[in-house]
């Protein structure tokens, strides 16, 4: 067999992983897509970045990435956070792949903790970095036991937990990593995205892939698949965001980061999605003054 594309820096294979590893991950990905929301165990490799830094997402991206892809990497919604920069640099180094910060230009978006505000399309794949793939782990840490619960679709424990929350606080106290039911069958962790982002997963045109490196699990949500946040008839799921507008672009609908500006209680809100925010600022700068007001 020839290895014409023994690409890359320092003798590593294209996209770092060897071909056997890629094939193993690819097989896991196909089964994950075929069984939406089910966690498929895979032989995760040690990566040159630490566990917790996105090794699962990186392995998934490395297994699907090709030379024609355009890669966007975000952490907390931002392209310029240090870990996002570091992962983007990793792939430009080992795969020579083109990076972008523009959501609309990307074919693959690797993310930690956010789904972009700009709706994703059929031409895109989003790869989530997942720290704890097991949605039941706070209620039942034993994998042997949760595996059985998934096999039986026995999710009563989670319903009880949410209901106790409501009884005690009047609300579900889970604000991120809010559990979802996929295709009406599997309870799934959406990764630690804010609950605000959960509705974006429902019937998303893009393919959604999830990689948990340390826990050695891969799972997926195919396009247009039903993803329901757990709720109750009398307490329907309601996503929340900070009650305010972005100080930079004026958006009243995007997810906001709270920024403390001084030690006297001063604060401002800005979009967590930096690309969305910048595009809005650019559009506002280009538009006549009257339209700018409408945009805000």
């Amino acid at each position: 067999m020839s290895h014409d594309s023994g690409f890359g820096s320092g003798g590593y294979n294209f996209a770092y992983l060897d071909e056997n590893t890629k094939r193993m991950i690819r097989r896991a990905l196909l089964k994950a897509v075929a069984i939406p929301g089910h966690q498929v165990p895979f032989g995760a490799r040690e990566m040159p970045l630490p566990y917790g830094w996105g090794t699962g997402g990186i392995q998934v991206t490395a297994a699907i990435l090709g030379p024609r892809d355009v890669l966007k990497v975000i952490d907390q919604g931002a392209d310029d956070t240090t870990n996002a920069v570091s992962i983007r640099r990793f792939f430009s180094r080992v795969a020579g792949v083109r990076g972008t910060t523009r959501t609309a230009e990307a074919t693959i978006i690797q993310t930690r903790h956010r789904i972009p505000e700009t709706p994703l399309t059929e031409a895109q794949t989003i790869v989530y970095q997942v720290p704890m793939p097991e949605p039941l782990f706070r209620l039942e840490p034993r994998l042997a036991e949760t595996r059985r619960m998934h096999a039986l679709a026995d999710y009563g424990l989670m319903h009880v937990k949410l209901y106790e929350d409501i009884a005690r606080h009047g609300h579900v106290s889970t604000a991120y990593n809010y559990p979802v039911m996929v295709g009406g069958r599997y309870l799934m962790s959406p990764s630690p995205i804010p609950a605000f982002d959960n509705p974006k997963m429902h019937r998303m045109p893009a393919l959604q892939l999830f990689g948990a490196g340390r826990e050695k699990k891969i799972y997926a949500v195919p396009p247009y698949t039903e993803v329901r946040s757990l709720d109750f008839e009398d307490h329907p799921f309601r996503p929340h965001r900070a009650d305010g507008c972005c100080a930079l672009c004026g958006s009243a609908t995007s997810y906001l980061d709270e920024v403390v500006t001084d030690d006297r209680g001063g604060r401002m809100f800005v979009c967590s999605d930096t690309d969305y925010c910048e595009e809005r600022q650019e559009a506002a700068a280009a538009a006549p003054a009257s339209e700018t007001e409408d945009a805000a």
Binding site: N20, K31, V33, P36, L65, G66, A151, P222, P223
Partner: protein, 189 residues
């Protein structure tokens, strides 16, 4: 002489995989695989490319495609070939598939162990008589398949109540593929 495998094992496998992933993610949408493979008969390029992309020493393959094809697969994919359908991760079928009860459908705890049936048919195109719905499909995809084995769709449909256990199908014809993961509901006419 043995016909060659992938021209570029790294990039051909990558583009092959993306086509399979796209097919599995959007059941019934027909994907084109990169041309160029000249596998021994009766294997067609798409069937061969799918197996070279996914099979290796860790995946036992059941094949009904004859000795030349088996040798070619063994040499280029390095996969063990098995005589029992139940022991196979991939089934390479060019004729009549084995009885579906004989195939590994995984378990409720490990449904991912369900086998993948790589089924070679005469022709594939979008539109047509089969109406597909389920995950990956916005409303309905229509698919035209020529040369589907008699009774195959009914046998496949009979597995649906076993979900999440099940079998996933990759249909191959020429250089084209389309997939029917276990979640896809198929109606005829």
């Amino acid at each position: 002489m043995m016909q060659p495998g992938f021209h570029d094992p790294v990039l051909d496998a990558q583009s092959g995989f993306r086509a399979v992933l796209e097919a599995m993610s959007r059941p019934g949408r027909v994907q084109a695989l990169p041309p160029g493979l000249t596998p021994p008969a009766p294997l067609q390029p798409a069937t061969a490319a799918v197996l070279l992309t996914l099979a290796d020493a860790e995946t036992p393959v059941f094949s009904d495609a004859g000795t030349a094809a088996a040798e070619w697969l063994r040499f280029h994919a390095g996969c063990p070939l098995v005589a029992s359908p139940a022991a196979a991760t991939f089934l390479c079928v060019t004729g009549t598939p084995p009885a579906l009860e004989e195939i590994d459908l995984g378990t409720d705890e490990a449904p991912q162990d369900g086998a993948t049936l790589v089924l070679q048919v005469a022709a594939l195109r979008e539109g047509g008589a089969l109406r597909l719905s389920g995950p990956g499909i916005e409303r309905e995809h229509r698919l035209h398949v020529e040369g589907l084995p008699e009774g195959f769709l009914a046998a496949r449909a009979a597995l649906a109540p076993l979900y999440p256990r099940g079998m996933d199908v990759i249909l191959c014809a020429g250089t084209r593929i389309a997939a029917l993961p276990r979640t896809t509901h198929v109606m005829e006419g």
